[in-house]
């Protein structure tokens, strides 16, 4: 592959190839029974070139030859954006965040379909013990990925990554009322406990036992970690370096100003062991970091990929992510972390005489 890229550099200024090979096995239960196992094996590659100072791109799955991809990428470069960066010559982890990030567990890769079926049956049984009349849909998924990256300037990296997830949707229908509860847990490691999932579902079902109507008016509201994303999403989208650059973001000139509560501290952290969005490098060879986005209510950083950072005169924050092998890198969040406060959920609830929990 490196050889091909060297050859490519005779036709274009520089080139990079990103390759993903993955296998996903989802074991699906519907209405309390095993329903489907749709195995997906995929392999795709994306070629990005810089040609006469402009960016070109093409992607392919399957057997398309390198030359034909190169030709298309060169053709699109004619209309592409001016490159404000070049591909990294050297790709390695350094600095204070040098530590090795664990994202692969062979035990996940080796997990058999039969074992996954058993886990699903166990989850349904556990929730069924609580209430036989529930409709349970459960999915147990394992996901194995191989990522490879090369560029014509000598930079390269590769890694393997695994993910294992349990998710469940429970439907309870009584008379005219329908209660739907969804929950999921996920890890890169084979360390998930099904009780973690079922106890959350059962607790939720208990909450839903008695239905009351709410009167309009002001009252305190608690957002669970699942629901809080709805509140944070506009901030996250506004901190995207691309949105800032285009001046679409309302946060453009707000860096280091006190905007929100002291209690709000947000990170994009790609260095957490076995978390979904972790990796040694982002999808264009920049080191993944723990990037402080908001600290005590003040914006600390916007997040960038190479190209956007180049135009903005900033450094990439290691947030150049691709939505699969068919797309170019764009600024994205690795793992979104909101720093914990000091009060537990039950203390919050105790504190409120009448309010709402949003899950």
């Amino acid at each position: 592959m490196e050889k091909l890229l060297q050859q490519a550099s005779k036709k274009v200024d520089s080139a990079e190839l990103f390759r993903v090979k993955s296998k996903t096995v989802p074991v699906n239960f519907e209405v309390n029974r095993l329903k489907s196992i749709d195995i997906s094996e995929s392999e795709g590659k994306a070629l990005r070139v810089i040609n006469k100072g402009r960016i070109g791109f093409s992607s392919s799955t399957g057997s398309e030859g390198f030359d034909s991809m190169l030709e298309k990428a060169a053709a699109t470069s004619e209309f592409g954006s001016e490159a404000s960066f070049d591909f990294p010559r050297e790709i390695k982890r350094g600095g204070e965040e040098r530590k090795n990030i664990n994202i692969y567990d062979k035990k996940v890769e080796d997990k058999s379909i039969e074992e996954m079926v058993k886990i699903g049956e166990g989850i349904i049984e556990k929730v069924g013990d609580f209430n036989r009349k529930l409709r349970c849909d459960v999915t147990i998924v394992k996901d194995c990925n191989e990522i490879e990256y090369f560029n014509s300037r000598g930079g390269n990296f590769s890694y393997n990554k695994t993910a294992f997830a349990y998710s469940m949707m429970v439907q309870q229908i009584e008379n005219q009322d329908m209660l739907i509860i969804y929950s999921s847990i996920e890890s890169g490691k084979d360390n998930l406990e099904l009780e973690e999932l079922t106890s959350e579902i059962i607790e939720n079902l208990k909450w839903g036992d008695k239905i009351v109507s709410v009167e309009s008016g002001k009252m305190p509201v608690i957002f669970t970690p699942k629901a809080v994303l709805v509140l944070i999403l506009p901030i996250i989208s506004g901190l995207n370096g691309k949105m800032v650059l285009k001046k679409i973001s309302p946060l453009v000139a707000q860096k280091n100003k006190k905007l929100w509560s002291d209690l709000l501290t947000l990170y994009s952290d790609g260095t957490i062991d076995f978390a979904t969005g972790s990796a040694p490098f982002d999808d264009e060879g920049e080191e993944m970091k723990r990037v402080p986005l908001v600290k005590k209510g003040k914006i600390k950083n916007f997040y960038y990929d190479l190209q956007t950072a180049g135009i903005a005169g900033a450094e990439s924050t290691g947030n150049g992510l691709r939505a699969g092998s068919q797309s170019e890198p764009a600024p994205g969040i690795s793992n979104l972390v909101m720093e914990e406060g000091k009060i537990s959920f039950s203390e919050m609830v105790k504190d409120i005489s009448e309010g709402i929990v949003i899950d």
């Binding site: 196992i37 094996e41 992607s59 399957g62 057997s63 053709a75």
Partner: protein, 456 residues
Amino acid sequence: MREILEKVLGDKKNKADYIEIRTEKKEVTTIHFQGKKLEKINCSQQTGGNVRALVKGGWGFVSFNQFDDLEEKVREAIEVASLIGKEESKLAVISPVVEIINRKLDKDFRQVSLREKKNLMENYNSIIMKSNPLIQSSNVIYTDRFSTTYFANSEGSYIEQEKPFLGARFTAIAREGDNVQLASESVGTIKGFKTMERISTKAQKAAFRAVNLLKAQPVEGGEYTVILDQTLGGVFIHEAFGHLSESDFLYEDERMSGLMKLGKKFGSPKLNVVDDGSIPDLLGSAKYDDEGVGTKKNYLIKEGILTGRLHSRETAAKMGEEPTGNARALDYRFKPIVRMTNTYIKNGDTPFKDLLSGIKKGIYAKDCYGGMTTFEMFTFSAGEGFMIRDGEIAEPVKDVVLSGNLFTTLLNIEGVGNDLKMIETGGGCGKAGQSPLPVSFGSPHLRIKKVIVGGR
């Protein structure tokens, strides 16, 4: 391709009740302008395939990009099917077909240079941007895709079908102070690049509508007699009613299948609803669906009575009905599931102006900006709205959100126009993670009483 598929199937035939292999190759071009800037231009090629096997009523499915070990994929599909299967396999009987279907295009987009496509879209984009000083930004997204599918099953069918698609979506964003309004127009077709060369009016219309919305006042919420235009009528019948006719969902939902009992009265005798994948040259059309079943005209509602529903081979057999040719897959990564094709309300006999007459205070709702349905409950946002006063179309209004119960709303249709139009957009239909699947929908103008309209 045929020999390879048939050889693999020949080896494994007796180990499953049914096996099919579907492979696909496609070339895709995408061009995206945002504001004055070319945001993205992209060419990609995809090849891939899948194996689906049925053992004792259980389906195994494996999708892939590499063809080198097809036999192993078949083995894997049979293995997982055996884990799931615990009953008797049921598939409606069809006769095997061998056919190769090529398509003739009105200007083959594969022969059009990237530059020509880019220039055309750039031109549409500048029509939007220059149409009015209040236009602040735009989005022009063009996609073309030429896909060829190869289908073979263990019953001896072999079908090759060419499936072209072209789509363009124009969005105009107008701004006056804090008032920001957005309007979209979209075109989709399987006919060829010629269609794409003739849509400058759509770009103008998007800009015109966005600017017009700046002047519109929020509608006053309440219960109104509403006239839906052909687009909104089409979206309504597809989203609110059509999805409930999909049998894969119906036969597992006792409550809904009770509500969707054949023979039940759904509307006035003027109401006829059809899904037909065999109409030539429409977005949802194909001679065969993705199980190799021929498409045809299926009445869902005839003269106000619920008369049919949409099937795959499996749902048809399980419900003891005829297959309808509605098993469709987005691409090789997905199993075929029951989907609509071209869904429409047939023409009635009332001219548009007669639909208007007698409405003292009502709403004319046009286009669709989005919406959602949960079982029989629906909510749609109109893209454009006008008050109707004393039988005449009056001032524009915005934030027109229609909601209600499908069954009562169908019964409340009191006028069916005579101006059916099929709508083909660059978007598509979504179900079970398979989106956007090309479909078309349509309707004549519809007059519906007692519609709940929420405003701001």
